[in-house]
Symmetry: D4
Subunit: 161 residues, 8 copies
């Protein structure tokens, strides 16, 4: 089965990006995690973007903060679907820079952007992408959504006591 | 082969959303287009969201403006990957409301958000999602990216004359 | 006498929404509190929205954060007046997403939006709505406004000492 | 039957506010329209706010732009529910000033805020408030929502041809 | 000699507004401090605004937060120059609501707005207004500016050591 | 009688600033108009700021757009009250840069900021400042406010026909 | 003498970027203009960034709009000073995305950002950079600043007539 | 060899600006540090701006917060390249005022703006400007970029363990 590539611009993004790693583990989907900085390791960026689809990676999750160029540059280099996670890093202006520099890609080069710090949703979206061609993973997504519902219902019971 | 479902909140969103229909036609990918309003046809919303994956749809593109609830509610109801297109509708505050009410989904329910009015990129992203399990479609994405490059190079030639 | 339905997207919204419960208790108006998540319990959302006016509920207060779809979806489903409380949840971008995704509803489906985290005002507004057809409750609102005035005047006395 | 009071800060707000007048006429609900400027006719503001509930008015709709103080000051003076319409006037900064100076009322004094230029929704909300104690008006709201649905469905038919 | 009237919407604004009181004391200019809430004590607001210039007040400083209507309403009622201090209160969205609802007054009714929480500058501005017709106070402003310069120069000396 | 100095950063600001000139003419107050660019004529800026109070100027109105430094620099150099008019110039980002670079002055150096393009209000504020020590001008302000009221009342008559 | 490299993401950026070309021609400084798209021609981007300093280029001016990655990626690849011009392209949200994705670079990789659409200033800044080591060019900058002053003074003469 | 002039509006900006001093020390480039307040020491500002290029300074780094006029006024007075550092000072509205009042300079007077609190990048940019005419310093920049890359690669090794 194919893998999800998870990359981030800096080790300081790991606490946020860990949620993508964890939820994909829950779904039993293999991940490959690496640090790739668009601004500090441009050669690694090029190598990663050009070759990911030639290895066994089928979806790329890329997280970055501030003027976040990693997701968009990977989308420039790779034909795979790229999920961008805007990270509210310490040098960010309330997260607006991270969000806009990932979301507002020009026509021709999409990045599937999730919420600020929304790495968990990036992982679920990657699972849904695999699930769109795998009935087995689709069923896991259905089960996951059922578990969300049950958790809310338990909370509702407590509030009504 | 599976289809891409393209829905929008109002016929007034069609000029923007047409770009998704057109680019997917270019890729030779079948689409099914409908109007589904979260706020005016909630029953149709529920029916659409609950059953899309039981028909032959594998990715849903949903466009809406203002307090745009269509993409997020479809993502709530369907296990399929949902791509959200924020539309800068006439009642929107410079597009910020459309962007934020699609992008900022809570943990558990992702929407793959593209740029404001970025319906073309929504179509390309849908193709990339199909391509992640179809070498044939992946090759079409590779070819498309090559065509983008050639168009820029022609522009560059003209500017240097 | 009719009741005010108070719902919220998550138990984590309760500390904010409690102010609506408390102020309505002060007015002697009965409330019914529940957790209804637009994104995690869509069936409950539909059931709640479609039936609230068939039970003894006359106004609905709905609080949610981030891409907050609960107030708008309830307004889509119910003919009752819906008061929306934008909650500054942990995943919110300074509250802007909560505010805009509740306030900017399309023509035809209003949500009576109050200030960010303004659950107390949502409660008072619900009382005013009941008061618009009940002289008894209207008088309670008049008395409440008088009590606000007296509190300010006491503060003024202290400052002038 | 009681009336809806519709006031605005300037005759230049009338093109926006007319939608509230029109939709309430459709519902067969009587309206009383006036110009009341918080900043230029403060005495009229005081008289209006203090006496509206003593006449046959049960809900007040107030529209204003820029540093929009009319809705909040009326809410300060009247025990009735006040619906605020932020108007994107010529001196407004993209509507943000109008929205924030109406929405962000302090605890104790709510204004039921609708979308920027959302006068139509203000009218519908006023009807819903009357409907919360009048089965006849509630039915009109139910019928109106049905008409919205049918209009969307006709649009959907055309798009699928 | 005439006095500066300093008013604020709530005792919670006092820590910010104290800076205006203190700097005016430094200039030897008399102040009169009071709590006047536009939303909770509208009668006091009217009385204050209509009569301040008939007493010995020549400039009014008004501070408020959130949907801050106090400065603008006082400017509506009084012919005196009104200085508005946007306060970043606990219910404010990063101060934007306070700033915009004080600054963006319609043509005809100015409020002299200072920076967010800029009560000190409001005091200095009041002194400058008195100074524009009083050579003695003008000289105090000149001296104050000289003291600012000397403080910076001392800091500069330390940094160059 | 003293004069109001009106300066602006560029002749392109004149259409906006003309409103200050006109309203002061209405009040019978003398003005002196000049172009002073903080960024292109810094020597003139210094000369103007240092000497205005030594000539017969008692209030300075300064308008500028974009990174608008003229009002703040004049306030740095002159002990007179400085009124800043943020101009929405062609190079401005929706006016936010003009507003923030005039309003957000540091402690010690106030600029009395009016609304975006609010030159008319700058003129009225200058009149009010003169009026705070001149009963004759104060009366003109009172009369002006009365004229505003009458204009609104005429508009109200027409709307009620 | 060395050249200024001027690149932009798309031919549609040329009307804005032409101002940089023109002002540098005025200074008699040679320029080399090209189209380099970070997202559509990543190989050309890499080649350009890695080799510019090995050719006779000493400063790079890069203009782009939306999620503008060109200036930052060139700064990642080249040791030369990179001047970024945020372009308000048709797909931009009022220019905020262009500004933030160029300005907010992480520590270690600066981009010298100028105002939105500020290509003229980018050209002047490039001249100033050359001037910091060339007395001849420095003198041209001094002369240019003198010409700005004279133009303002002529405008001032006309306004005072 | 020439020096880099580093100035800031207040000693409270020093913790941010120290990063520029430190990185330039690393590059072995001499700096001269001073406090120059546009608003409190305008004479020193004028003297500094007019004479820096006549001493041995070749690039000026200026940091300031709030309505930050120091970088732009220095750029008005000096023909040297001026690098502006927006500082998120205590009186700033989330840094937006600092950023916009430095970045949005009018045509003719550029400021090379770096990220909010980006003093380190200001120092690197100054080194790059010297490096554009000094092969020795250019090599130091190349080496620095190599060190950034190695640090990321070490982080990547740890994450893959």
């Amino acid at each position: 089965m194919s893998k999800i590539g998870i990359i981030m611009g800096s080790t300081s993004d790991l606490p946020v990006m860990q949620e993508a790693i964890d939820i994909l583990a829950t779904f039993g989907i293999e991940t490959e995690v690496d640090i790739v900085s668009a601004h500090r390791t441009p050669d690694k960026l090029f190598d990663y973007g050009k070759n990911a689809h030639l290895r066994d990676i089928s979806v790329i999750i890329a997280g970055a903060g501030g003027a976040a160029h990693l997701p968009g540059m990977i989308a420039s280099l790779s034909p795979l679907p790229v999920i961008g996670v805007p990270v509210k890093s310490s040098n960010s202006i309330d997260g607006w820079d991270s969000v806009l520099s990932i979301l507002q890609m020009p026509g021709g080069v999409p990045v599937a952007t999730v919420a600020l710090n929304g790495a968990k949703n990036a992982g679920i979206l990657a699972a849904q992408i695999l699930g769109s061609s795998s009935p087995e993973i689709l069923q896991k997504v259905v089960d996951y959504k059922e578990s969300l519902k049950q958790k809310v219902e338990e909370g509702a019971k407590n509030i009504k006591k």
